[in-house]
Symmetry: C2
Subunit: 254 residues, 2 copies
């Protein structure tokens, strides 16, 4: 064996993961390619080097590269090697502002429609009860809807509020873009402050089913509480945004 290539060797497979090695490798290489770590025009990355880097076998590497080939990221030719073909980063996306008012404004501009999935009143979780300062055995009004862009669901919303005010909200009302306005009118109180938290999470089967995305796909999770002037939380919204379709953008003067 000739010592021609330096070892890299700080990356290793996740042997606790249930995700097959060849998928782990394919995804990792995909990100390296789209982030420009390999010269797109030509050459690079031989099977043997990859076997060494990821400490795995012929077959596993070949399966990984087959997947990259299927997905159109590389071409492979006997005797020549593997060449990077496409280097496209993300496909399409919506850009949203991070502060609530900008988010709302940005979302209005999108050419999307809303579909109400259901409106119910149930006993809800402690977490929701606490956020809305409601009693533990009290029923709560709950509305679920999705946002659809070109026939594709892109985000999923659940809203909670006091049933005594919201019982009269119709499916038609609930399908309107400006849900806060609808609620304000139902509750009879002006919303003066919104508290928003934003998390990065992955999709489980419930969300995958609604949004039609794979299990484990990245998501933004946003939880908003809407407060009256007196500071009381009137209304709670939980939203999931497809990570492959949404980007939050801000420009800050320093």
């Amino acid at each position: 064996m000739t010592t021609k290539k330096r070892k890299k060797e700080n990356v290793s497979l996740d042997r606790n993961s249930s995700v097959p090695f060849f998928i782990q490798i394919a995804e990792t290489m995909k990100r390296r390619i789209v982030s420009g770590q390999y010269n797109p025009g030509k050459q690079l990355l031989t099977g043997e080097e990859l076997e060494n880097e990821f400490q795995t076998s012929n077959i596993t590497i070949r399966k990984a590269m087959e997947k990259l080939k299927e997905d159109g990221f590389v071409e492979r030719r006997r005797g020549l090697g593997t060449t990077v073909s496409k280097t496209d980063p993300a496909p399409l996306g919506f850009e949203l502002g991070t502060s609530f008012d900008k988010l709302k404004e940005a979302i209005k501009k999108l050419n999307t429609r809303l579909k109400v999935l259901d409106i119910t009143t149930t006993i809800s979780s402690e977490h929701v009860q606490n956020l809305l300062s409601m009693g533990s055995e009290q029923e709560i009004w709950q509305m679920k809807r999705i946002r659809i862009y070109k026939g594709v669901p892109v985000s999923y919303y659940t809203y909670y509020s006091d049933p005594v005010h919201c019982a009269g909200i119709s499916k038609k009302d609930a399908a309107k873009n400006d849900i806060i306005h609808t609620i304000e009118q139902a509750v009879g109180v002006k919303i003066r402050r919104v508290r928003q938290i934003l998390r990065s999470v992955v999709s489980d089967l419930d969300i995958s089913s609604v949004l039609g995305i794979p299990f484990g796909a990245p998501l933004f999770f946003s939880e908003n509480t809407y407060h009256s002037a007196s500071g009381k939380a009137m209304f709670l919204g939980q939203s999931y945004f497809r990570g492959d379709m949404f980007v939050f953008r801000t420009t800050s003067p320093l």
Copy 2:
């Protein structure tokens, strides 16, 4: 067969996923539990119901429930059923503001230290070159570092800039919290505007290795460009934040 329980049946396994069914189910149930969809005190969710809901077999459901049991979310007793035990949501976390200045401020308050992984100059990707308006064959200065909290890496940063200004930046300088200040001094220009985009992504092997998290774990990816008064991008930062440890929070008056 008695028709005692209504069908739910809109959720289905992701049969294209490489993640085993029992993991998909366990993760889905975990989220249902922590989001309070099952009464924590007692009862609920029998094996047969789950077999029906997820359209799978005895063994698969049992493996899923074993996993939930291992993770401490349920207890199972023969003849009685499965009871929800803990309902803890997320463990610990940092709260960051979404706008850049708030983020910077929030991060300073954290009791963390920075470790510089390496400083190099290389040919970088088209994407980085474009953002910094540099020539395609031009070398670029690159610095990688991680933020460590109680011995655990929590975020991973890569910075790019023009090598003619940054060549003199030492590892010690690079380990300082206020990297913008360091760069400003090196480049000799005041930064006046920051453009930030925030994405939700999942970890690949490269990031998993650095942050010590599982493959597929959720992450925030933030890309910041730092502009001078003239509008020129002087500096580029790419950051990954552990999704299980960071929350972005804003409060907006309406």
